[in-house]
Amino acid sequence: MKETLISLREVTKTYGSGQAAFQALKGVSFDIAEGEFVAVMGPSGSGKSTVMNILGCLDVPTSGEYLFLGEHVELLNRDERALLRRHCLGFVFQGFNLLARTTALENVELPLLYRGLPLAERHAQAKAALALVGLTGWEHHTPAELSGGQQQRVAIARAIVTRPALLLADEPTGNLDSERSAEIMQLLTGLNQEHGITVLMVTHEPDMAAYASRTLRFVDGLIGHDTAYVGAD
């Protein structure tokens, strides 16, 4: 039995107040176990970005509980959530968000810098992470010298260099053509299967969601469909 990594209980999120209030999440509950590869799908405005922000500890639920490895995230303050992100989470964004005019190696080192690792260790771990995403030999290239697919690989290396408990990917293939997208998805699948990294990916492309072992479909702030329960039937 795999341990439960994430547990959401009746989570709601409301933006604004009074008449302008908009409820983005209307009471969402689900668990994610270690080692899962979950795709989150749904039309825009369905709440998938909101749930992503809450899972990424960038935002807090209006009500409900969010347990990350048994810890109540909704009770943490801003700094405590930052430390949780630093030590347990990795982010991959649609727009890569690499530091410009900074080499791939330095970009990958960045999370280690915040962890306060000494230089030699930073270099070794960053190089290993770049090797894992197939970018050995590209360490000293800046983002401008890399293709989109390579930039996303650097971003993935940056996300996994800290060996996070959870890798959050927000439309990781949104800016890539289908060939690069497939490469990135294979990379993520490989990291999930061979290295046991739990992956949660937001996407609106069914082709990409097909790589995942489980799909959560959001509709109007609620979970419309969860393939985990289909499998359990």
Partner: protein
């Protein structure tokens, strides 16, 4: 954490070297201006002090009349008599020598050359009291002075004006219808603290001056008394004693003000250096304004940088940077920029003030305190003007920042 912030900040500066150099230009100019101004001011003060010292450090000056102070008319005061000199020598033991001088401007001529210069009648003791050296020939002696012989000793400027290259010794110069034999030339002294050419002078025995040069009315008068004080004795004490003596000799009632003034060279040098110090402070303050402008420049660029790097800040926050780490990074960036500007400014100031002081003929006086202060202020400006942008960066909402275009 500080080390980390420094590392991040230096990486950032390296990434934008061009912009960083333009940003620090304001600080560089500000720091350089402050230090240069203060160095020039210090040089001027040192020059004045040196010039006053060239009068002789143990000199006490006695003049008729009060030095003018606000709301007090100068008024007329009787001159001194030759007997006053003797009286001072006898009554005030600390006084080694007394020289009396009287002067008026006049044209002096030799052959076809002529020049307008102060003619100073004085006693032989003036050579020593006035801190003069003889460059050529000799000075007149006591018997020549008493006999009132028409002898004169030329200042360097007068010698150059009348005799260009040749030796003036033994030649006769004319002034106010008097023919006067040149017996010596004074070694040059240069400019006085007031900017006068001290070498523009013709000295002659006081008796001769009184008889032939001064007008009828002031025949017996001595304009100024110069006293040299014995080594190691206090000039202040002499100033007090001579004041008391002169009040008595001039018959001044206890409730009346002095109609003469007595002061030592230290008082002159204090008065002059306090003036230059005020000017130095003023110039420094004006220059400090440019330092402030430099600081605002840094704030401006840091604000632009925060806006421009919003997504990057969002990424850092998502990766797990704490609010205070982002704050520190931007703050250290601003301080590193301004401190670097301060260092370059100091280097520039050294070059500039060395060049300017040598061009203006001022001594090059280095003030490490002001350099340290300017550096500290420039770093402080980094903190002051870096804080607002840094706080803005640290307080960004990571979600909003990541979405920023």
């Amino acid at each position: 954490m500080l080390w980390n912030a420094l590392l991040l900040a230096l990486r950032e500066i390296r990434r934008n070297l061009m912009r960083a150099s333009l940003t620090v230009l304001g600080i560089i100019i500000g720091v350089a201006a402050v230090i240069t101004m203060v160095t020039l001011g210090n040089g001027a003060t040192a020059l004045i002090t040196a010039q006053v010292a060239s009068l002789g450090s143990n000199l006490v000056i006695v003049r008729p009349g009060q030095r003018m102070s606000p709301g007090q008319p100068a008024g007329w005061a009787p001159a001194f008599k030759e007997e006053d000199m003797q009286a001072i020598l006898e009554a005030v033991h600390a006084v080694r020598e007394v020289a009396g001088i009287a002067q008026r401007g006049s044209t002096v001529a030799w052959m076809t050359e002529s020049t307008f210069t102060p003619i100073v009648g004085s006693t032989p003791s003036y050579l020593e009291v006035g801190n003069w050296k003889i460059a050529e020939g000799r000075f007149f002696n006591d018997s020549e002075q008493r006999a009132g012989r028409a002898l004169c000793v030329l200042g360097d400027t007068v010698k150059k004006a009348l005799f260009s290259g040749s030796s003036p010794i033994g030649e006769k110069i004319r002034t106010r219808g008097v023919s006067c034999e040149v017996i010596g030339v004074l070694a040059p002294k240069g400019q006085s603290a007031m900017g006068q050419d001290q070498d523009d002078i013709v000295l002659m025995p006081l008796k001769a001056y009184q008889r032939r040069i001064a007008g009828r009315r002031s025949r017996q008068d001595v304009g100024t008394l110069l006293l040299s004080v014995r080594d190691g004795l206090s000039t202040e004490r002499v100033v007090r004693d001579v004041s008391a003596l002169m009040r008595e000799r001039r018959g001044i009632a206890p409730n009346e003000n002095d109609n003469f003034s007595v002061f030592d060279t230290r008082q002159i040098s204090d008065a002059l250096s306090s003036t230059t110090r005020v000017l130095t402070a003023l110039l420094g303050a004006v220059a400090a304004v440019s330092l402030l402008v430099g600081g605002i420049g840094i704030m401006n660029i840091m604000l632009v940088s925060v806006t421009e790097r919003t997504r990057e800040i969002g990424t850092r926050l998502a990766i797990g940077a704490l609010e205070r780490e982002v704050l520190l990074q931007f703050l250290v960036e601003a301080v590193a920029l301004s401190a670097f500007g301060g260092l370059v400014g100091i280097a520039l100031a050294l070059v500039a003030s060395f060049g300017l002081t040598s061009a203006m003929g001022l001594p090059f006086v280095l003030d490490f305190q002001i350099m340290l202060l300017a550096f500290a202020v420039s770093a402080g400006i980094g903190v002051l003007f870096g804080f607002v942008p840094a706080r803005r960066a640290a307080r960004l909402d990571p979600i909003e920042a990541l979405r920023h275009e």
